[in-house]
């Protein structure tokens, strides 16, 4: 009798068109975010591992004897570009020198 009075309709909520799609969709979205987030973190980790050679025993080591040009696969080999006697800022003995070739127009 109790079953009769409770009845299925008031307790089963509104009719659903497709069972669990909204729940599944949420779960999928969460999974995708987790995967994507993991990818980003992993990418960040490997990037940092590749550039931060601070002697901390990092197991991921970029071949230290590789030419610098291989750091970016699309780059041609380095060239011995001269700073000539052109305008510059920064110390003459800097470990990194950027030489820009540009025009004003």
């Amino acid at each position: 009798m109790a079953e009769e009075t409770q009845g299925p309709a008031p307790y089963r909520g509104p009719p659903r068109s497709g069972g669990l799609p909204s729940f599944v969709g949420t779960a999928l979205a969460a999974a995708i975010l987790l995967i994507a987030g993991g990818g980003v973190f992993a990418g960040g980790y490997f990037t940092n591992a590749a550039v931060d050679d601070d002697g901390g025993g990092t197991p991921v080591v970029v071949n230290p004897t590789a030419p610098a040009g291989t750091a970016v696969p699309t780059q041609p080999p380095p060239v011995a570009a001269s700073p000539d006697d052109d305008p510059s800022v920064g110390p003459q003995d800097a470990s990194v020198t950027i030489i820009e070739f540009s025009d004003f127009q």
């Binding site: 040009g69 780059q75 011995a80 570009a81 000539d84 305008p87 070739f101």
Partner: protein, 145 residues
């Protein structure tokens, strides 16, 4: 980190680029390269308009003269000795230096501007900062930094 500016005037498409590069060298002669560099970039449109207006009224020569006058007009704003600057620009004394830069750039593989060599590694064009960071970090690592 050291940053060096070398000239690569694209004269075939930029009619006042060569004289602007010479003007930059004239400013450098007075120790004011970077101030003048910034002033030229800030006034690119005005210089081009001066050239186009004079070209329309006269000829290409008149246009270039107007552009050079506009380049001279920037000198007082960055505290250059204008008489020396104007004489330097008119004499063309830095024309060969500018062309030396250009030829060096060609020999290094420069095909357009801007082009950057980071410890010799070419980064061509106006690229996102992240691309520069990648090459700079690699250069630092190789240098033992």
């Amino acid at each position: 980190m050291r940053f060096v500016y070398r000239d690569f005037p694209l004269s075939s498409i930029h009619p006042w680029a060569q004289k602007a590069s010479e003007a930059g060298e004239c400013a450098d002669d007075q120790g004011k390269f970077w101030e003048y560099h910034d002033a030229v970039y800030a006034n690119q449109t005005a210089i081009t308009q001066a050239l186009q207006t004079a070209s329309a009224a006269g000829d290409a020569s008149a246009g270039l003269t107007a552009a050079v006058d506009a380049l001279k007009g920037l000198a007082p704003g960055v505290d250059l000795d204008t008489a020396a600057f104007n004489q330097c620009l008119d004499s063309g004394k830095n024309a060969q230096e500018v062309q030396k830069d250009y030829q060096d750039g060609i020999s290094y593989g420069v095909e357009g501007t801007p082009a950057f060599f980071i410890n010799g590694v070419l980064v061509s064009g106006a690229q996102p900062f992240a691309n520069f960071k990648t090459v700079i970090d690699a250069a630092l690592q190789k240098a033992g930094g």
